[in-house]
């Protein structure tokens, strides 16, 4: 299951934390919300980003 946590600070800046998606799929999820909201200011991949879906470890560039 995918879980996305949005924290909207008092200045309207939104942090988006995606969990439950391995590989590059998280980028697609983030992109949908980011384009609707505004301008992306920072992107960090977390450990699961670097695993391909078939379990082969591989570093994936942005």
């Amino acid at each position: 299951m995918t879980e996305i946590t949005f924290i909207i600070d008092k200045d309207g800046n939104v942090s988006i934390d995606v969990e439950g998606i391995q590989g590059t799929g998280c980028h697609d999820v983030i992109k949908v919300f980011q384009e609707a909201l505004g301008v992306e200011t920072k992107l960090n991949e977390k450990p699961a980003y670097f695993y391909e879906l078939d379990g082969i470890k591989q570093t994936v560039g942005r």
Binding site: I4, D11, V14, I16, V39, E40, T41, L43, E45, Y49
Partner: protein, 144 residues
């Protein structure tokens, strides 16, 4: 865990802006929307030159006044980059409560509406948002 990003909210969507304005106390009939830019009036009924808006809330220059005492119209104008710029007089920002604090609350509530709408159209579900002690709003979206 997958990814984390930060986004600066920009007001672009009129329907979500309308819902955000309603969340701050305006009733639906108070919020005028027009594809053709509307003129904005001052508190004396004078037309404010150079100020037009596709979203307008009438002030004291009209028979109906939804903004406050001796108020000018509030308006949102579509800019070339697609964002909506907020027109508010210095008087209304200072004396009728539409200053920085209110504007920040509007942007916050607008972001909530955008997230909800995007979640729905993407097939996700979401919990009711809640407010942290520091004033930030948390909204959790889930899906498969």
């Amino acid at each position: 865990m997958s990814a984390y990003t930060e986004v600066k909210t920009q007001i672009r969507d009129i329907s979500c802006l309308k819902r955000a304005l309603m969340s701050l106390g305006f009733e639906e009939h108070m919020i005028e929307i027009s594809e053709t830019p509307m003129e904005l009036k001052g508190y004396g009924g004078d037309i404010r030159k150079g100020k037009k808006a596709c979203v307008r809330i009438r002030g004291a220059g009209w028979n109906e006044n939804y903004v406050g005492g001796a108020s000018n119209d509030l308006g949102f104008e579509r800019m070339e980059d697609g964002t909506l710029a907020f027109h508010v007089s210095e008087y209304d920002a200072r004396s009728n409560g539409y200053g920085t604090s209110w504007q920040k609350k509007l942007i916050q509530n607008y972001a909530v509406e955008i997230i909800k709408e995007t979640a729905e159209t993407s097939g996700y579900s979401y919990d009711n948002p809640y407010v942290n002690k520091d004033g930030s709003i948390v909204l959790k979206v889930t899906g498969y």
